[in-house]
Assembly symmetry: C2
Homo-oligomer: 496 residues x 2
Amino acid sequence: MSRLEELHSMFYPRSVAVVGVSTNPQGWGGHAFIRRLKRVGFPGDVYAVNPKASNEVHGVKAYPSVKDIPEPPDMVIVSVPARRVPEVLEDCIAAGVKNVHIFSSGFSETQEEEGRQLEARITEIIRRGNLRVVGPNCMGLYVPASKFTAWGAPPKGVGKLAFLSQSGGHGEILSRYAQELGVYFSKVISFGNARGLQALDFLEYLAEDPDTGIIAMYLEGMKDGNRFTRLVREVNRLKPVIIWKGGLTESGARAAASHTASMAGEARVWDAFFAQTGAIRVNSLEEMAEVALLFLHLKPLLGRRVLLLGGGGGNAVAMADICSRNGLTVPTLAEHTRKQLAEFIPLAGNSIRNPLDVWLVQHNLEMFRRCIEIAVADPAIDLVIADRYPHNGDNGDDGPPDFEEGSRRVEEFIIEFAKNNPYGKPMVVAVNAPTNDPNGMRAAAELRLKFALAGVPAYLSQVSATQALSRFIGYHEFLAKTGEGKSEPALTCCRS
Amino acid sequence: MSRLEELHSMFYPRSVAVVGVSTNPQGWGGHAFIRRLKRVGFPGDVYAVNPKASNEVHGVKAYPSVKDIPEPPDMVIVSVPARRVPEVLEDCIAAGVKNVHIFSSGFSETQEEEGRQLEARITEIIRRGNLRVVGPNCMGLYVPASKFTAWGAPPKGVGKLAFLSQSGGHGEILSRYAQELGVYFSKVISFGNARGLQALDFLEYLAEDPDTGIIAMYLEGMKDGNRFTRLVREVNRLKPVIIWKGGLTESGARAAASHTASMAGEARVWDAFFAQTGAIRVNSLEEMAEVALLFLHLKPLLGRRVLLLGGGGGNAVAMADICSRNGLTVPTLAEHTRKQLAEFIPLAGNSIRNPLDVWLVQHNLEMFRRCIEIAVADPAIDLVIADRYPHNGDNGDDGPPDFEEGSRRVEEFIIEFAKNNPYGKPMVVAVNAPTNDPNGMRAAAELRLKFALAGVPAYLSQVSATQALSRFIGYHEFLAKTGEGKSEPALTCCRS
């Protein structure tokens, strides 16, 4: 049986029971899972289990034990105190339940003897009962397609990104953060201490899952390292694997031990892992989403030579330094190109070498169009980063009066040009907004979303734009180098 | 004559003439300098010079030439096309003018023969006439105390930070960005191609200037490297010197040549410079302001052992990794401390080792107070980073109903505790807001400003908080190591 078949009933359950449903309506716990399932319109049956409950709790049918439910539910969520988990698992076995998510924490991650012993006990029960278990100490599964989303941000659609995370908090945050950017999910899996199913098992599932096109992972520990490395290397060829490894520093490793009882491993082991697998290394959830955005919207890209288009001399130096530091280059445009540009751009106060430091490109569509059409044609250029300023009606009283309207026209042109330029050269946007002002931050975020939701990868800083691009290009370079390059883009925009 | 006396009439002019004042009211140029001077209430005389002007332009007295102004003005701003600059300088000499700011560009930064020759010509005139010149190709001086602020953000007050910048754009941005954080300026100096006064000359002035307590610099090139290095080393002992060096990469160096005709120099030369001088190295304007915030609000600090106080296991691992990567450590709290904490913090779902991963600290004042008072007393701790979430009335429907009000109470406590805790241990805030939502960004910015404007250094990410702290501590370590440590804080909060 394939992993896809084996785990199907976990990800697409027809019925879910939640064990440990307090009647207290506050905070997290069993009742919150039930409330969320009802709110997102989960179409299957939902049951509550509470020894003292009769008939109904929180609007769903209640039973004193899992064993009392007429048919074994496809999924059981366990939300009782750690010391009571063993008996609930025994009940699940007795009732013929196969799939269990243990939300409860208080096991080896406490680093106390009692927690360790409890974890050993449940591990024994899981094996003996042949249970498929997510957890303990985790948020479990999140599947927009089956509406089995009892946590995380309400799904806005079904997408290509899967997130396999040893942290439930990271799953919560990314499910919201990525969707805000128009990046939607196939599955989010929070697996915590992993005493039953391992990262490896889930990765096998995601590799086979036809809904998943990009796989992101947050890992603290790694079990069975050689097998995991081989699998990631294999999967990464078909579906880009983006990994944030937490706990690589000494302080971080101590925190990981307290979080999921993980042995975090040495930095050099992970360096070797990334070098061997070609998986894309990131250091935060933000970076994860930022790279995913490129895989969703751009075709494979091998060149690293950037055309920078923006204004301001100091800004041009900064942009060029940032590109260089992140492994991109900013070549001088060919003499032929510069000659064409010099015909309509005055040299004083501008630079036409690259960065194209031309103030008027911010709001003068004709200037922008002429600059980009001439410069993009230069064979020294592989891709474009356009530097854009937010315009919230507060661009200084010395700015041109048509700044806002002109800027909007340039933005519309960028969205069109990025998708359909005749050279097929990709274009991303870096919103340039060094501000601490709440309204300024809001305007920057709005401008960024305008591009990202229209399918043009856009970033809130030059640094994040270039880091994401460098990782994206590095992925394709790895595939090309290891002889497994894809000639066709594996993914296209998947917003629904 | 000291530099302070020599340059006094430039920074505190009683009269300013602007040469090259078009009657076109749009864009930048001479008329914009005049408009700004009038708007900020510059108390001295302002004159316009335009060959065709008679009587008045833009509301100020106009003359055909500098030579026609009855008394030589203390400062002349030159805003004519590059090829006309030589004759204006000759006029200044003839009129007995001493201080000139050449705003005009179109010199060697164009990398064209014509511009180079013009620059050689004006250099010769400047020397022969013994003129004190800022520029060419720059925004000039910005002095809140004398209201000689004809560019940049309108000053909100007079502060301790001086910014010496080879980029006028950076000066514009930082003058706004830092003030938004409550960091005010003594002087901003944009000096461009520096054919008259050099960075060195201005640095000597700022070293003597009693209004300046912190010196930030943006440099593209460096002339007279040995003298500059000696001076920075000397000044840095009394006034922290924060330097962003632009153009250190190959692409960046090319851009710098196009911007201010600077020879950017090799990375290893600058590595040696920073090692010798102890100057604080940053890579952006944001980082500059972020470090300045610490010098304004914290006492000197030598320890690097951080107490991290926040919630979420994955978040705790990330915070610890970020600290470690930026040279801070997150020590496990002493057993004695942990025992006290365990008395009221349940182990399941929390961690009391450090990071203190306790969800309730976000909005439960009593929990926050008990945690911080016990943990700060631990001798293993030198400073605190508190992880705080924005609350914009949208904290999820599963959050506690009193989240917002409780959070506000904790924030007030932090502001009080950061300033007056009996252990004298500094505390900074990292606002934790991974969001792309415009309203979420706005809420994060508001929360950050709430702390920063109350004198508690606050940051919009863990990364920026720890980087700034590491640089701040590194400065004091350098002074201690080189035997010139200050026992007293040189600076205190200087918001006016």
